[in-house]
Amino acid sequence: MAADQADLDASIETLKSEVVSLNQELFELEEQLLYPATTEFAVFVSMAAVDDFAVSAIKLTLDDQDVTSYLYSAQQVEALRRGGIQKIYISNLKPGLHKLTAEILGKDTDGRSLKRTVVADFGKARSSKYLEIKITNNEKQNRPDFAIVEWK
């Protein structure tokens, strides 16, 4: 009876592992199919070593059109602080010149609200384009810095 129980538990765990693996395969297939390398455009968010700022929301505007906005939980802010990168937006984009605007809302350690807007003009060729919204710590001025950087 106990052995049956253990077998069932093991089968459930194996199933879980296989389902996770299958879903990952499906996710990869979806990205390849829906966002081909020639048109793929993605925006990431990272926050390195910033202790006195917690991001609460980010709104993205691409070529003067609102494309996405995201609200962060405390756990997700912590995940960013601990080195995580979030893929906030993915889509297909045609070649040419484009403009990305990121509106970042957050709070500092004293609870004061902070709102910053960063803009990036970039060119898109017939290949993937990745941009990263970077929140870093400006040690000299003791405040957070915001920038959009292009991945080479």
Binding site: S11, S17, Q24
Partner: protein, 626 residues
């Protein structure tokens, strides 16, 4: 031991809410996949994290030992503790893990111990906690580490080691209250003087202010203290603690029941009725404390010598037990017909699964909601139901995956059609022909225009009559020169000629303006046609063949999904039977208890009926005799 179990499960929700992972920062600047895996893991999306982790391991990412730890952590998060345990043990004891820092190692062992502690695997948890080197542990986790270590040592009966850990916990930490509660409970098992036990319970109560839910914990401590003092025959102390339990908390029913018994033990029968009536009227009869009260009330009435009332109460209790028994039987039937567990699973949030995702037990307007709440307080059932919920969620994920694959197939077909359409398009030929025609027309027109507008005097635009007039003017000019010595005729001729030339030049400018406009329109048309031709040519050249190669991938994945679904259905049925078996057994146990109560109530009712009838007979006999 049952005390310890109570405490361990009482704190488990707050323990589960914590993140499991060691402090580990992303090394590469733009290592997107690794960064995303870290983000998912730290933000509690274990399924995504595990999937990305598997992808990283396939690509042989450089941080292999760390990836393995992260994999084990995500597995723990998804309730795959056996696989996680294997990974952790292999990793943390392997030589290859030298790369892992002491801090990370300590934290990994700590989280492993914590997980086994939550799962109720005490000895394995103790083995793991012994591996934690406290000096290397993150200061924020030290109090929790000492708490878990102390509790585990207490489970093993090693009081001295436990005491050391308890003393190491900071009093301002939320863990201090739980630790002192555990200490108090251990004192009750160790025959420590009652005053000391009471003092530790009081200390635990004082420290509840640093916890997340101080009122609830204080209620729990009061109930535990009350139950302990009642069990050891110290009714007054029990009453003191039980009176402090709030009347609208999770522990109210148990506290009211014990409070009544403690008062009964103190011969305060009248006072004891009050909490029991309160319990009976405010809670469902399916609550086991209410069931006990149903028989306890007439028992108390009998003690108060209110035998007729007691007889009525016993009869009422008997009827109630009959009803409860039937309700439990109906619950068992609903379990077989899929009206109990299935509605519960259907209302779970899709994609929320794993060890940390709580089950929504609300079941509004369902006849089994009270029973479910009661049975769910048992942790072993929670674990099994979570496994069933996970399988249910996975099944819906697999089904939605198959639907998604069907949608992908449609996308492919659409793209193939689009491609074929572009390739078969005759637009290029048509546009080329149109462009040629336009160019030809433009050239002819240009030549005519150039010829007409060559002379700005407008002679090119003169009509035949006007041309004849101009020629005759020339002739007349020569003739007049020979005849007219004074030049009168010549002057008049020049005036007439001037009028005609003026009209011609005016016409020239107007026509030129008009023709330029028309030419510009034609030019624009030509340019547009050229652009169209260029675009059509580009589209033809660059039509994406992005549907290529996906046919096989989609088909292969669909087969995998279908096979997995079949396997999952088999396991799901087994787990469903297991959960059903647990509930059936529980229902049977409850029915047995109810039957026992009913038997007692009926026997007592019969006895009382007999006694009260005899009394009537005795009284009646005495009256006759008088």
């Amino acid at each position: 031991m049952r005390w310890f179990l109570l405490i361990a499960f009482a704190i488990s929700p707050s323990v589960l809410a914590e993140d499991l992972l060691p402090e580990q920062y992303r090394a590469g600047g733009q290592d997107a996949l690794y960064g995303q895996a870290l983000f998912s893991l730290h933000s509690g999306e274990y399924q995504k994290a595990l999937g990305l982790n598997q992808a990283l391991q396939k690509r042989r990412h450089k941080n292999t030992p760390l990836l393995k730890i992260q994999q084990a952590t995500a597995q723990l998060g998804l309730g795959m503790s056996q696989q996680a345990k294997k990974h952790y043990k292999k990793l943390l004891t392997a030589k290859s893990s030298k790369l892992i820092s002491h801090g990370t190692r300590a934290q990994a062992w700590f989280y492993l111990a914590k997980h086994f502690y939550n799962k109720g695997m005490w000895s394995t948890a103790l083995q793991a906690i012994h591996q934690v080197k406290g000096g290397h542990l993150n200061p924020q986790l030290k109090d929790e580490f000492h708490f878990i270590a102390a509790t585990l040592e207490l489970f093993q009966g090693k009081a001295k080691q436990a005491d050391k850990h308890i003393l190491a916990i900071s009093p301002q930490s939320m863990w201090a209250a739980y630790a002192f509660l555990n200490l108090a409970v251990s004192y009750t098992e160790r025959d420590v003087h009652i005053n000391q036990v009471d003092a530790v319970f009081e200390k635990a109560k004082m420290l509840t202010k640093y916890t997340q839910h101080p009122e609830s914990l204080e209620d729990k401590i009061n109930l535990m203290a009350g139950q302990f003092f009642f069990a050891t025959g110290r009714g007054r102390s029990a009453i003191k603690h039980l009176k402090e339990v709030s009347l609208d908390g999770a522990f109210t029913s148990k506290a009211l029941l014990t409070y009544g018994w403690a008062l009964t033990e103190q011969w305060q029968y009248h006072d004891a009725l009050q909490p029991w009536y309160m319990l009976k009227t405010n809670h469902s009869p399916l609550n086991q404390d209410v069931q006990e009260t149903l028989i306890a009330i007439p028992h108390l009435l009998e003690k108060l010598n209110a035998k007729v009332m007691a007889l009525g109460a016993f009869d009422y209790a008997g009827e109630q037990y009959e009803m409860i028994y039937k309700q439990l039987e109906e619950s068992a039937k609903r379990l077989n017909t899929g009206e109990f567990i299935e509605p519960l699973l259907a209302q779970q949030i899709p994609d929320k699964w794993g060890a940390f995702a709580a089950i929504d037990l609300s079941l509004p307007n369902h006849p089994d909601r009270i029973y479910l709440k009661d049975v769910m307080s048992k942790s072993y059932f929670q674990g099994e139901l979570k496994n069933l919920r996970d399988l249910h969620v996975m099944r819906s994920q697999l089904n939605s995956g198959i639907e998604q694959l069907a949608a992908f197939e449609k996308v492919q077909i659409t793209r193939r059609d689009e491609y074929q359409q572009v390739k078969n398009d005759k637009r290029i030929n048509l546009t080329s022909r149109q462009l040629l025609k336009l160019n030809k027309r433009y050239k002819t027109l240009r030549a005519t225009v150039d010829k007409a507008f060559k002379n700005p005097s407008g002679v090119g635009l003169a009509s035949e009559f006007e041309k004849n007039q101009l020629a005759s003017f020339k002739q007349l000019n020569t003739d007049f020169k020979a005849l007219d010595e004074n030049g009168h005729y010549l002057q008049r001729l020049r005036r007439v000629e001037g009028v005609l030339k003026w009209a011609l030049s005016q016409r020239y400018y107007e026509r030129k303006k008009e023709v330029s406009k028309n030419l510009a329109i034609l030019d624009g048309k030509i340019k547009q046609t050229r652009r169209q031709l260029k675009a059509a040519k580009l589209a033809f050249r660059s039509t994406p063949k992005s549907f290529n190669g996906f046919d096989k991938k989609v088909a292969r994945l669909r087969t995998k999904y279908q096979q997995q679904l079949k396997r999952l259905d088999i396991v799901y049925q087994k787990q469903r039977e297991k959960v059903g078996g647990i509930v059936k057994l529980d229902i049977k146990k409850r029915q047995k208890v109810v039957m026992d109560y009913q038997l007692q109530a009926r026997l007592a009712a019969a006895r009382l009926f007999d006694e009260t009838s005899n009394k009537h007979r005795v009284v009646a006999g005495a009256e006759v005799r008088q």
